[in-house]
């Protein structure tokens, strides 16, 4: 019991400063990036998912925030394929907190995982739109 408690205290001592610092970084950068979204997405069927994935990669937050932003982008005329790539990469590709992922889970793991998820967000977006068109 004592050993488990001490281990947890160590975790807390390491995690709290990083969590607050990451939130500070995210809050500082996100408003600067978000205002450019309508200009980034032009409606191109092939480039949009790539740009969507890039925009999601450099953004960061809980998935709900990406759904709200994605919903707003759709209303502004951005294609669903771009928004799909955007919401997936937002939640699975952590460019801003990559150093944090590396510090906890290792460099090779973090780089491979993020790279694969970046590519997957584009592939999933394309497959989702194709499937929607075929069956819905």
């Amino acid at each position: 019991m004592r050993s488990a408690f001490l281990k947890t205290i160590q975790n807390i001592k390491m995690s709290i400063p990083i969590v607050i610092a990451v939130l500070m970084l995210v809050n500082l950068i996100n408003p600067l990036i978000q205002k450019y979204y309508p200009q980034i997405f032009t409606g191109n069927y092939f480039i949009d998912p790539f740009l969507g994935a890039v925009a999601g990669t450099v953004s960061f937050g809980i998935p709900i925030a990406s759904y709200i932003t994605g919903g707003e982008l759709l209303e502004e005329g951005v294609s669903l394929i771009a928004v799909t790539a955007f919401i997936i990469s937002w939640s699975t590709v952590y460019f801003i907190i990559l150093p944090l992922e590396i510090s906890f889970l290792g460099k090779r793991f973090a780089i491979w995982r993020n790279a694969l998820n970046f590519v997957s967000s584009i592939v999933i977006a394309i497959l989702t739109i194709i499937t929607l068109k075929l069956f819905v």
Binding site: S3, N11, S15, V19, T92, F109, I124, T128
Partner: protein
């Protein structure tokens, strides 16, 4: 003073750097930094309960779960069952990644496979608390289709990462 700074952990150094960035930023654009700080405070308040839960989970993990159990259910001999546990865990355990990293790092130390950690992390969209919001914005058909693909690719990417980590390819 410099010696003291050098002795600090990387996490504290990172936090100090961000505080300095905010202070310097405030000199140039006080209005922006104030607005950002208000949002920051809201975020901190929002994550306090999540962090409390995470630290409670860490305590339980350290208390209850031993390396043998992890090796059996999520370790190298976990087999098909391990993929099911990792996928279900990714659906039911929500929370931002930066608060989940300490838990995953702890589970890794206890023997959890890299492929299963990756599978868990590759799905941060298909989570019970968030699905109603996704349905609200994108509709039921979209949510079902995209969720299925996300879960499938989470496992595929997990398998690839498992291979990469095992063979030390990069």
């Amino acid at each position: 003073m410099i010696k003291r700074l050098k002795k600090l952990s990387n996490s504290i150094k990172f936090l100090l750097v961000m505080i300095v960035v905010y202070l310097v930023g405030g000199l140039f654009n006080l209005e922006y930094i104030v607005s950002v700080s208000v949002n920051l405070w809201k975020n901190v308040v929002e994550i306090v309960p999540i962090l409390a839960f995470v630290f409670f989970m860490l305590f339980i993990i350290n208390l209850v779960i031993n390396p043998e159990k992890i090796k059996r259910h999520l370790g190298h001999d976990s087999g098909f069952k391990g993929w099911i546990y990792a996928s279900l865990g990714s659906i039911f355990i929500s929370g931002p990644p930066y608060v989940l990293f300490p838990i995953l790092a702890e589970l890794k130390k206890h023997g959890m496979k890299d492929s299963l950690i990756a599978t868990f992390m590759n799905n941060r969209n298909v989570q019970l608390p968030y699905l109603p919001v996704m349905i609200f914005y994108f509709g039921v058909p979209f949510t079902i289709i995209v969720s299925a693909y996300i879960l499938i690719f989470a496992v595929i990417n997990g398998m690839i990462i498992g291979e990469v980590m095992d063979k030390s390819i990069i």
